[in-house]
Amino acid sequence: MAQQLLDVKDLHTQFFTRDGVVHAVDGVTFHLEAGETLGLVGESGCGKSVTALSLMRLIPQPPGRITEGSIVFDGQDVLKMDDDEVRGIRGNNIAMIFQDPMTSLNPVLTISRQISEALELHLKMDKSEARKRTIELLDLVGIPSAKKRLDDYPHQFSGGMRQRVMIAMALSCNPKLILADEPTTALDVTIQAQILDLLKNLAREFRTAFILITHDLGVVAGMTQRIHVMYGGKIVEKADTAELFANPKMPYTWGLLRSIPRLDEHRKAKLVPIEGLPPDLIAPPPGCRFEPRCQYRRDVCKEKEPELKRIPNAKPDHEARCWGTQEGGWLVDTDWHREIGDTRVIEEIKKEVADLPAETKKDGEEPPLPPPSPVN
């Protein structure tokens, strides 16, 4: 077994807002080996991005705070480091690629300045070395005539090209881990494929460990070795990528899989959405967090929260947080392709959502951001 690069245990990140404490990440545990690729999947507001930001201690504070847990990276607990030590890791050992390349680059600084900054800081390069390395990096990520474009500003690049620049920036100091937070969401489908290819090849070439965060199971399919599905601030299913697609065990994962459009489907076939809304993370449901939206629910789901446990008829490292699919559950033998659950339950969920006042419908849709400041 390769050396453990990252070991996250019982991570809790909370946001203290006027309406209450938002439990954005609520006891997340996972690990990553050197050079391994992991997909973190879930819908908006399930805590994926907050998990990633927590790993680099980039949670805006206040209102956010990591309240519990440990993040051991390369043998050191990131949460116990002082600010200087954390800065030594950021961009150097752990790098991040953000979702929106349009806003993640500084509009008033040249591309070369933004990439060489980290090189000068972490690798102690001088200006001309950093510049040379920046050209190499831009070549590497496939920016044509990198030498000429070095002193261009972000607005002179297209979205896909900017994301390449972001990738070059992330790779600049040969990090051991790259966190890619929805790296292709803001791009159109063709460019998306190109960027994913690029990431895949670079990860292989440099043996960099990757955490790919996305809401799109289709994106992680060909990219990662393992997948963790998140829901309501918790990991609800862990499995090998192949295993997860072949033998998913959590009704939430089933829902995600059903909502991916397929090329071989009949044209008129409708996508099956997951009815209902993501849970309110200020006051999450007491039982299973997915219970209010689950078509296969039973009374036990409402009463007690299931543990993340291994599954009887699956690979040994396949775990799910579901009473139904665990040992002795009523879903162990359910074929999710055939049985879409109890239609009366679906109608019930639909009705509940329709009855909600418009305001509460928005709750939990977006990860909590710092409250808007009174700008004068």
Binding site: R87, R90, M96, L105, V108, E117, A118, L121, S373, V375
Partner: protein, 306 residues
């Protein structure tokens, strides 16, 4: 870029013409004339007519205007009606003082407003932020002549700490400079705070932090440059504010600059003085605005000046 500057400079000419036209009309339409009879000037009518003829104000106003523009183009600004000396000399005497006062005030305003705005944004909703907001609110809401009179009363007349009449030593400059700087400084503080608050919430600031930069480099290197773009655009109008503010301040503190000269010449209906000072101010404001536009293009690569 060069073409842009040339075009902007050429546009000054028609603007100046209209400024001249409007000022000339308004000045002459205002009741009274420079040589009205009063207790101090009990002149007989024929002598008045003679004076009016000498200065050319017996002509119809349009004719006078054409004459004035003609002289102006030849570089002749005319004689001051009340002082009997060439306007050029009078302006030349005062302009240094006014420029010094204006530049000092601008420097003071920038020197306190930008740091204050930045600190205020970084320490948002702390006592420090509220204090700076309080100062900024006072600075924008209380008119400068009120502040001036207050300071004259307290620091000058009561405590005798600073002289408040005239100009020359640094002590003379303290109060006028401070009072003049207050309003634009307060305004710039608020603008800096608002745009800094916006800048530090941007994604690229998070990117900069994710690179492992020190907080100081993140703020100065990444946020500040973006935050200063809107501030720079305000400096143009702020310069105009400094200029118009200096009329009052110069009069109150008896500073021998052209601001005071301007106010006096308006009261005395000294047409050539009014015209020349107005045109000079208009020119300065236009140059300030052009400069700001050019600087704006240099600060923000997304703006192409053309």
């Amino acid at each position: 870029m060069l073409r842009y500057v040339i075009r902007r400079l050429l546009l000054i000419i028609p603007t100046m013409f209209f400024v001249a036209l409007i000022t000339f009309s308004l000045a002459h339409l205002a009741p009274g004339s420079p040589f009205d009879r009063n207790e101090n000037r009990p002149l007989p009518q024929e002598q008045l007519d003679k004076i009016n003829r000498y200065y050319g104000i017996d002509q119809p106003i349009p004719v006078q205007f054409v004459d004035y523009i003609g002289n102006l183009l030849r570089g002749d600004l005319g004689l001051s009606f009340t002082r009997g000396r060439p306007v050029v000399d009078l302006i030349g005497q005062g302009i240094g003082t006014t420029a010094q006062l204006g530049v000092q005030a601008l420097i003071v305003a920038l020197a306190f407003s930008i740091p204050l705005g930045i600190v205020s944004a970084l320490k948002q909703n702390t006592p420090l932020d509220y204090l700076s907001l309080l100062i900024a609110t006072i600075g924008t809401t209380i008119p400068s002549f009120v502040t001036a009179i207050f300071l004259i009363y307290v620091l000058g007349a009561s405590l005798h700490l600073l002289p408040f009449v005239g100009w020359g030593t640094w002590q003379h400059m303290v109060m006028p400079t401070f009072v003049l700087a207050l309003a634009p400084g307060a305004f710039l503080t608020r603008i800096t705070r608002a745009s800094m608050l916006e800048a530090i919430r941007q994604d690229y600031v998070r990117t900069a932090r994710a690179k492992g930069l020190r907080e100081q480099s993140v703020i100065v290197g990444h946020a500040l440059k973006n935050a200063l773009i809107p501030v720079a655009t305000i400096i143009g109008p702020a310069t105009a504010g400094l200029i118009t503010g200096s009329f009052i301040i110069e009069s109150l503190f008896n500073v021998p600059g052209i601001g005071r000269l301007y106010v006096i010449s308006i009261n005395q209906r000294d047409y050539p003085m009014i015209m020349s000072t107005t045109l000079l101010y208009a020119f300065v404001i236009m140059i300030a605005n052009i400069t700001v536009d050019i600087v704006y293009g240099a600060l923000d690569p997304r703006i192409k000046v053309s």
